[in-house]
């Protein structure tokens, strides 16, 4: 039997437009994979010439999902260039807004963007509600808590609601999916738990969004950061606002401990074979830029909640320090001119669109020997890296960070799991849940710290600076983490205006194509070795790609505007599954 060539486009339940092509052998195992993206906005070009104090608001719109992260990184880059250190209240508020995003985003990702790769909602209707209660109790016990909303009545109500919905014949957003696929492994009762929590999470995430709004004015796209600090004085002065934040956070923590973690144990156990085999593990190189300043020392001297570092080849015994000077971008397989690896300060973007390869049956295939994506291939010291929650947890453990090690070790111990399960699709998904629990706990401390600081009379929210004297000819970077991984903005400023601007973001690292040495990007590497139960329903491929939480509009945001025509963009097929 010949090899098959799968085309999946669009990949849905992500942000942005992504296409995956995979070659599978006669045993339905992926032997090669290609990740590609389209769609441009040119935000860096738009930022050029603007007042650096205004960049944050616009740079934030690189993404409506990691909303607030780009805002913060952009403002930090300018602050770094101006050498302005923000006051304690501003640091805590920014941490709380960023932390709120982590918790919110991870829960939305697991339930609304990822769960339907694990949970078959049609199977949930066959479940026995009574048995479902026992099942929920079982997994909650593993996680060390009571189960979330686990009553017979609740499960019956969920079944009735969805049954009614299905009977009417129009499944809406649940229509035309892979229901019934052999790739689903949960029992009906487990599926019912997942479905029930999917619905509850819709409600929870709506509440969690309010955390960002309390100090940020709104969610998404908050509006309270300025170069030098934050603006939300009345919200930090008011103890009721901090209490409100804490109240919502508590609800989020409860959901995380009673639903999210047990569900990850449940799914992880049912898909344990794959985890133990390391399916979806990918590159094995992990990098964290680090995130959340824990003290008020100047730039990149403060200690971090998530330390920065690099782990190579899954070897936890050695950690390398991150030096931003070693980050470069390669364009050998991306639709740009040149192949030299340039640092973001000197980043160059000259489009060179070469089109797709062969076209058959109205499907155009990627020209994988040459250029095939608008995403560049970032390198760290000439190596490929994976970024994200898994990288943060792995680097934290390897660095011996007490807090992170405690959460990771407890998770593994409770589930009776070996460390190696982390290096897989399941592990990537689990790392996100572990991190959510950690964030919820630590944010409680930050709320108290903020309340106490304000109660002691410190209302300082902004550091004064003289724009004219600091904005002459300077450069700076803001490097930290988005929920999806390392996110950096680099800015060069001349005469009070932006001279050059580049962002290297999580999905640039993870969704990138091959590099000049032919080495695979993180998505690509993670797919190789995956067995697909049914090539017409490539559920396993979706599951692994979704485990990265793709955010593609962030990754593709650079274009050249020097009047250069890019040639004819031939075709971007949504071919689904096809054979070649």
């Amino acid at each position: 039997m010949a090899k098959k060539h799968l085309v999946i486009d669009p990949i849905t339940r992500i942000e942005g437009h992504l296409r995956i092509e995979a070659i599978i052998d006669e045993n339905n195992v992926v032997t090669d994979a290609y990740s590609s993206s389209t769609m441009f906005r040119g935000i860096e070009e738009i930022l050029k010439g603007r007042d650096p104090r205004d960049c944050g608001l616009l740079a934030m719109r690189i993404c409506g999902v990691c909303t607030g992260t780009h805002y913060q990184r952009s403002i930090e880059a300018v602050e770094h260039a101006f050498n302005v250190t923000i006051p304690k209240n501003a640091r805590l508020v920014r941490n709380l807004i960023q932390g709120a995003l982590y918790v919110h985003d991870h829960i939305v990702h697991f339930y609304h963007l990822h769960a339907l790769d694990w949970v078959d909602i049609t199977e949930a209707l066959k479940a026995d509600p009574k048995k479902t209660v026992a099942e929920a109790q079982k997994w909650a016990k593993v996680a060390g808590d009571r189960p979330w909303n686990a009553s017979e009545d609740n499960y019956k109500a969920v079944q009735e609601r969805v049954e009614k919905y299905i009977k009417q014949g129009r499944l809406g957003i649940f229509g035309n999916a892979y229901w019934g696929s052999k790739g689903f492994k949960l029992t009906p009762e487990q599926n019912l738990i997942g479905l029930s929590h999917y619905l509850d999470a819709l409600e929870i995430q709506r509440e969690l969004g309010k955390m960002m709004a309390i100090f940020g004015g709104k969610n998404p796209h908050p509006q309270s950061f300025v170069v030098g600090g934050v603006t939300c004085v009345q919200d930090i002065k008011n103890p009721a606002r901090i209490a409100e934040f804490k109240q919502i956070l508590k609800a989020g923590r409860k959901f995380t401990k009673q639903a999210y973690l047990p569900d990850v144990y449940m799914a992880g156990t049912m898909y344990a074979d794959e985890a133990l085999e390391g399916i979806g593990g990918g590159l094995g190189n992990f990098m964290s830029y680090g995130d959340f300043n824990m003290d008020d020392l100047p730039f990149y001297e403060a200690s971090k909640l998530f330390p920065s570092g690099i782990v190579k080849n899954k070897d936890l015994s050695k950690v390398y320090e991150v030096n931003q000077e070693k980050i470069t971008e390669d364009v050998t397989h991306a639709w740009y001119e040149g192949s030299t690896n340039l640092h973001p300060y000197d980043g160059e973007t000259k489009p060179n669109f070469t089109g797709f390869g062969k076209k058959e049956d109205n499907i155009a295939y990627l020209d994988t020997e040459n250029k095939y994506s608008w995403i560049k291939s970032p390198l760290y010291d000439d190596e490929r890296m994976e970024v994200g929650p898994l990288a943060r947890m792995i680097v934290g453990v390897a660095k011996g960070d007490e807090r992170i090690s405690k959460y990771v070790t407890t998770f593994l111990k409770n589930g009776n799991l070996p460390t190696k399960v982390l290096f897989s699709t399941v592990g990537r998904t689990a790392a996100r849940a572990i991190e959510t629990e950690l964030m919820c706990d630590v944010m409680m401390e930050w709320c108290d710290e903020l309340a106490s600081n304000v109660a002691h009379g410190d209302l300082s929210t902004w550091t004064e600076f003289d724009f004219d004297s600091v904005s002459g000819d300077v450069q700076g970077y803001g490097m930290a983490e988005a929920p999806r991984g390392g996110l950096g903005h680099w800015v060069k400023i001349k005469d009070g205006k932006v001279a050059n601007y580049q962002a290297v973001v999580p999905s640039t690292w993870n969704a990138a194509p091959r590099d000049y040495k032919g080495r695979l990007g993180a998505y690509e590497a993670s797919l190789v070795g995956t067995k697909v139960a049914n090539p017409d329903q490539p559920l396993e491929i979706l599951r692994t790609v979704h485990s990265f939480d793709p955010c593609i509009a962030c990754a593709v945001h650079i274009i050249d505007t020097n009047g250069k025509e890019l040639g004819v963009y031939k075709v971007d097929p949504i071919g689904g599954t096809s054979r070649a």
Binding site: H112, R161, L202, P220
Partner: protein
């Protein structure tokens, strides 16, 4: 926490008078008759889903009284007289008859995120019981060709009846090839044309879809434009803002069900119920503006006392939107509440004209001397006229707009 319902009531019972939204008895009586007829027609139609909305509402723990309270606030949000409240209630119960297709073009998913935060109705009601959301890239289960078939089937099944929501702008540069989608490499432009062809109405959500937004900011590298520059011969409703407020998205749907027509729109195709007045008209910091009390720089004594943000760049006096009333995230807060000036995100070209932290030199706002309000109002009217003219040449205007020149500096 401020009760947004109370805020709405307060605003609509006070004598504002600055923006005349009262269309007179004859207009409302006629609209009322239309709505009544429309609802009785809808009642007779075969329901898409056999769901009793009151059951749903009650099962969510909301009693009839709370529901009616919400209805009266929503009626006010839609700028309709109280006699419409029973019809709004009925329309809500019939919401499950409106199929929606949601497209993402040149976007950041911010409006999808905003939709997920909808509180009235909540997002799970929207997804399961209220709308027939047929296609939504970021939420749907199917992928690849299965997703594509879902879209085709919905377009056929609901031909001429679906509401098409569009998020994101349309790149026109390089023959539209900065954004492509679909099996034949369809450009966003062609994709939108095809899918809007049999829509009952097209709702542009967020400032990218309405006026080009972020990608259209100078120098507009991809030649991005909004939906109304592309779709012709269809009712188009613009719900700008970055992101659009979900309350206004739901408001448009409700109004559509209620009357079978798009709500009354301003010259920029924005529903007047949401964009009929300025941020400044109902701002919680307005008294400080009138008293001449301003935040002069971030973190100063004015900031700590919630004074007016005009001098640190608030564009509330030039911006038409209802966020000073309904706020965000169920009334949790809004930018001015969080101490940051309005950036004018519901206005065309706001990235080039408004979104900076200094006052607008050309605003000619003389505060806090006598006759301020007159000056400000004159400015507001002038601006509206200017943007109305501007929209016709929107793409050209944004391409040539100077990013900053002549718009900075304080007005002394």
């Amino acid at each position: 926490m401020i009760d947004s319902t109370e805020m709405v009531k307060k605003v609509f019972t006070q004598k504002s008078g600055r923006v005349d939204t009262n269309r007179g008895d004859e207009y409302y009586n006629s609209l009322f008759e239309n709505a009544k007829n429309r609802l009785s027609t809808l009642r007779e139609q075969e329901p898409l889903k056999d769901i009793d909305m009151m059951d749903v509402i009650e099962s969510e723990g909301v009693n009839r009284r709370d529901f009616m309270k919400w209805v009266s606030a929503t009626t006010a949000t839609l700028m309709l007289p109280p006699m419409f409240a029973p019809l709004v209630a009925e329309a809500t119960e019939l919401m499950n008859r409106v199929p929606v297709i949601w497209l993402e073009l040149q976007d950041c998913a911010g409006n999808t995120e905003a939709l997920l935060r909808s509180s009235a109705p909540t997002v799970d009601d929207l997804l399961f019981d209220v709308l027939s959301l047929e296609f939504h890239h970021a939420l749907m289960a199917g992928a690849g060709h299965d997703a594509e078939h879902q879209l085709d089937e919905a377009m056929e099944h609901f031909k001429d009846n679906y509401l098409l929501f569009v998020e994101g702008s349309i790149p026109m540069g390089m023959n539209g090839n900065y954004g492509t989608i679909g099996p034949s490499g369809e450009t966003f432009h062609d994709h939108l044309q095809r899918i809007s062809k049999h829509a009952a109405a097209v709702v542009a959500v967020g400032t990218c879809a309405t006026f080009g937004g972020v990608p259209a900011a100078s120098p507009n590298p991809t030649g991005a434009v909004g939906v109304m520059d592309i779709v012709k011969g269809k009712p188009i409703i613009n719900i700008p803002a970055c992101p659009a407020n979900p309350a206004n998205m739901v408001g448009v749907v409700l109004h559509y069900i209620l009357t079978g027509q798009v709500p009354e729109l301003d010259s920029l195709l924005r529903p007047k119920f949401a964009f009929g007045y300025r941020i400044h008209d109902n701002c919680e910091r307005r008294a400080h503006f009138d008293a001449g009390e301003f935040v002069e720089e971030w973190g100063d004594v004015g900031a700590q006392n919630n004074w007016c943000l005009y001098k640190v760049g608030c564009k509330g006096p030039m911006t038409f939107n209802n966020c000073s009333i309904i706020r965000y995230n169920e009334g949790t807060n809004w930018p001015i509440g969080a101490g940051h000036g309005c950036i004018g995100c519901s206005e065309p070209d706001f990235w080039d004209k408004y979104a900076y932290q200094r006052p607008m030199a050309s605003a000619n706002i003389k505060a806090p001397t006598g006759g301020v309000e007159k000056t400000v109002d004159e400015f507001g009217l002038g601006l509206l006229t200017a943007t109305t003219v501007g929209i016709g040449v929107h793409a050209v205007a944004s391409a040539v707009a100077g990013k900053k020149s002549g718009e900075e500096g304080e007005d002394k």
